[in-house]
């Protein structure tokens, strides 16, 4: 935030808006005329991070594409809560096909636009972490490998939330899900498995990969804007806390996303052509307990007895991210 060094605007760019900033420096979400791509009346739970993240991302993409946007949706909460037949919450052209083929459908839409010489219309594909990291993974990898002109957005709530909270390959270790119940000595999801999809995307060498959370709107919007400047395959992975699946209060969704970033458990960064180009540093370094404790899916780590060893392993993961991505200003933590 270079401009802050010159003038001090009370909240800088932390808040959604800032009446002291020039209008062109303000966020899309602060705009009275934002698209509201995902309109009121949708059936997402109270405080749903995915509904919030989707509006943040798609409104920003609409702004960048001058309103010329088609969205392809995988099956999952976002699709289910927004389009109970015959209603829709979408205020943009939107298509849903299957759980695992969003990337492929988007490739097809992009190809059709090419044939029709509709150069200005852009394509976004979106899905949950299950649809992205598991069942849709093959289609997505193909889309990357072919460098199709699609921005794929994954809304990561760390599980199959629409079907009752089963484990996905994006579920963090130790989190309890419907398919990883407390058994024996090591409750919750196992350590050492799962996929780091942002890094897998980077490994494809595609032009743009980024991660973001619903706790940092300005950063999220800037990443969507950057992605929309680029042609070819782009991937944005957004952490969207799920009050129902995580067992958190509906008003804590943004706080949880913020803590995920501030603990280092969810690194927020950007990469171009497979190389890291920026990262969001930690502002108020926080131990992982503060993030874990409010979540019922981690409750077994604190009662009946504190599972200090497991918490320490999670802290080690956070510390590793901090080292690896340089999340603390000035180097080592």
């Amino acid at each position: 935030m270079a401009f802050q060094a010159i003038k001090f605007y009370q909240t800088g760019t932390f808040t959604v808006g800032n009446r002291l900033l020039d209008p062109e420096q303000r966020s899309v979400q602060a705009d009275m005329a934002r698209t509201n791509a995902l309109n009121s009346g949708h059936r997402a739970c109270q405080g749903c991070g995915e509904a919030l993240g989707a509006r943040y991302a798609i409104d920003a993409a609409m702004e960048a594409a001058d309103g010329q946007l088609i969205a392809v949706n995988a099956t999952g909460c976002l699709e289910v809560f927004s389009t109970p037949y015959p209603e829709t919450s979408w205020q943009i052209p939107w298509i849903h096909s299957l759980f695992g083929n969003a990337a492929a459908v988007a490739t097809g839409v992009a190809a059709a636009l090419k044939v029709k010489q509709q150069k200005k219309v852009r394509v976004v594909a979106q899905g949950g972490d299950g649809g992205t990291t598991d069942i849709g993974f093959g289609c997505l990898s193909g889309m990357f490998e072919r460098n199709d002109d699609v921005l794929y957005i994954c809304y990561d709530n760390e599980g199959y939330m629409n079907t009752g909270g089963q484990r996905s390959s994006a579920t963090p270790p130790a989190a309890r899900t419907a398919t990883t119940p407390v058994v024996g000595g090591s409750p919750g999801n196992v350590f050492g498995q799962g996929k780091n999809l942002p890094e897998i995307a980077m490994a494809h060498g595609i032009p743009y990969v980024a991660t973001a959370t619903v706790a940092d709107l300005r950063d999220l919007e800037a990443k969507v804007r950057r992605a929309m400047e680029i042609q070819g395959a782009r991937y944005i992975h957004i952490l969207v806390p799920c009050p129902l699946g995580w067992g958190t209060a509906s008003h804590d969704t943004i706080r949880m996303a913020r803590l995920a970033k501030e603990t280092g458990l969810f690194p927020v960064f950007e990469a171009e052509w497979g190389e890291l180009t920026s990262r969001l540093t930690i502002r108020r370094k926080t131990p992982v307990e503060e993030y874990l404790k409010p979540q019922k899916r981690f409750a077994h780590l604190f009662q009946p007895l504190p599972e200090l060893a497991i918490v320490a392993r999670l802290q080690a993961l956070a510390d590793r991210n901090i080292r690896k991505y340089g999340l603390v200003e000035g180097g080592a933590s």
């Binding site: 808006g17 800032n18 002291l20 405080g47 509906s250």
Partner: protein, 543 residues
């Protein structure tokens, strides 16, 4: 029904707006204005957060006008107020309190520079109110009475307006040009000040002048004395006369070495003034410890920095030829100072007693109903004395005895007089719930950038040496104003509008704040949690 539909489609496309998710709600968000701690502690009842809001945007005139709603003397107050607001400021728990008084001073000076005026909007009531004393209490009362449409005439015994602001507070803390400018503005508004007009008998003055009500603000000017055995060679003076003398042609002669007895601000002011008048040594003698001194810590610091010497745990015993005998004190087990029998001689040319002041009640002698307690006039919660229609405030009633309290009393009395003149009882505005630190989401406030910090430190240091400092730089005043967290009051950061997953917050546009759309608000509470300043409360839904 249209039957020309794609394969397997039987219904028209509908919008989810048909689905009123507001019915899910068990709690609803409500916009509130909580009381910021600065406003809460201000003895003059200023809406500090309110005027900082305008100052933040660089709209100094609106800021000044908001400030003037409560306090007619911002340039004075920005200099002499002991700013309890800053001790209460929530930002103090984050990094450092907002430098409120420096911004107030800047606004006050800016108004003088730009010649901003206050227009009286209220229709004339035809009522005439007598104000006795042109100190801050009297000036504030007259100002607010005028704003309310009444005629206010001040009778002032002295040759100038200002009271203790002129004859007590030294020039190096309050340049007289500033005081003059703010008094003059009151006169242009229509306040009449009759100087050299002492009121000796309230009832006859009111009768003769045909006044409908009166406000008393005569202050406390009678110096308290203490018996000190003295030879005749030595000079013993009282602080009030010394400071008053500073304002006259013939300055008091204090000599090369001055001893001041007392531990309050007045003692410090006398010692610092003596230094400025060329005394080589100014020694403050106080019977208790430094921590127990009633003087403001910053003033003690400044005095020490200027070379004033302090002898704590010391009392004056005897005045001799060219010296004074003092006795050392020691704290007993209850923390009270007790004489030790250990004496010391201090060479000095004069001794100034700064032991506090009593109220001169002579003008109230024959006033029926009036009660006096402990030398001060008793007033009710509306500032009215026991005599109906006569109100009082400032140093003459039990109070903290500051300019700020006096201004607050003046305002409150004016409102009470206004109600009384209409045969009504003033209705106290309901106090909003306090905007405590725990109500804030401080994540959203930017850290004060390091690049600007050193400049800030300079202002901080300078703003307490006002006469040394010229004008406060606008950039720094703006910077300070922007450090305000706007505790408990919406500052239109758009967070609620942004963070609602259901688009259930309606943005009304700049200056108009927001509305909730209860057709769709599910009551998740994100807006309330993510509101930086705690201006949204969740209330259980009544079923």
């Amino acid at each position: 029904m249209n039957i020309n539909k794609p394969f397997a489609i039987t219904l028209d496309v509908g919008s989810s707006l048909a689905n009123r998710t507001g019915s899910w709600r068990t709690a609803r968000p409500v916009y509130v204005d909580r009381l910021p701690p600065c406003n809460h502690t201000c003895p003059a009842g200023e809406n500090i957060q309110g005027w900082l809001f305008h100052a933040e945007a660089g709209d100094y005139e609106s800021a000044w006008r908001e400030l003037m709603k409560d306090n007619p003397l911002p340039a004075v107050m920005g200099r002499v107020c002991y700013h309890s607001c800053e001790s209460a400021c929530n930002r103090g728990q984050l990094d450092e309190a907002v430098n409120i008084h420096a911004v107030e001073r800047f606004l006050g000076d800016e108004a003088i520079r730009r010649g901003w005026k206050i227009e009286v909007a209220a229709p004339l009531s035809g009522k005439h109110v007598l104000v006795v004393g042109a100190g801050p209490a009297g000036l504030a009362a007259a100002y607010h009475l005028t704003l309310l449409g009444h005629r206010a005439t001040i009778f002032e015994a002295g040759p100038f307006a200002g009271g203790m602001m002129r004859f007590g507070i030294p020039k190096y803390r309050l340049p007289r040009s500033v005081l003059d400018a703010e008094v003059e503005r009151l006169e242009t508004m229509g306040v009449t000040i009759r100087l050299n007009t002492r009121v000796d008998d309230m009832l006859s003055t009111m009768r003769e002048g045909g006044f409908d009500a009166a406000f008393l603000g005569v202050g406390a000017h009678l110096a308290k004395r203490a018996y000190i055995p003295a030879g005749d060679a030595n000079r013993i003076l009282d602080a009030v006369s010394v400071l008053r003398g500073m304002e006259s042609e013939e300055k008091p002669l204090l000599g090369r070495r001055v001893v001041v007895v007392g531990g309050g601000n007045t003692a410090i002011d006398v010692a610092r003034s003596a230094k400025r008048m060329g005394a080589e040594e100014a020694i403050v003698v106080y019977r208790r410890t430094r921590e127990k001194m009633p003087a403001h810590e910053s003033e003690v610091e400044e005095a020490l920095a200027e070379g004033v010497m302090m002898k704590w745990l010391t009392t004056i015993k005897e005045a001799g030829e060219a010296s004074f005998t003092v006795e050392k004190m020691a704290l007993d087990e209850n923390g009270f100072p007790q004489p030790t029998g250990e004496y010391e001689k201090i060479a000095a040319d004069s001794l100034v007693l700064a032991l506090g002041q009593d109220v001169d009640l002579a003008l109230l002698d024959k006033l029926p109903g009036l009660t006096v307690d402990n030398g001060m006039v008793t007033v009710d919660c509306n500032m009215m004395t026991g005599h109906p229609g006569i109100f009082a405030g400032g140093d003459m009633v039990p109070s903290e005895r500051t300019v700020t309290d006096a201004v607050g009393h003046g305002k409150k009395s004016a409102k009470s007089i206004d109600a009384w003149l209409r045969g009504e009882v003033p209705v106290a505005r309901e106090k909003h719930e306090l905007a405590t630190f725990s109500r804030l989401n401080t994540w959203y406030y930017a850290d004060a950038p390091k690049t600007v910090q050193p400049v800030l430190d300079i202002i901080r240091r300078q703003s307490t040496f006002e006469e040394v400092l010229g004008d406060l730089d606008e950039g720094n005043a703006l910077f300070e104003a922007r450090r305000c967290l706007s505790c408990g009051n919406c500052f239109e950061c758009d967070n609620c509008y942004g963070v609602c997953p259901d688009n259930a917050v309606i943005k009304l546009g700049p200056g108009k704040r927001f509305l909730f759309n209860f057709d769709y608000c599910k009551g998740c509470g994100l807006c309330a949690t993510e509101c930086p300043c705690g201006a949204i409360r969740m209330e259980p839904e009544t079923v």
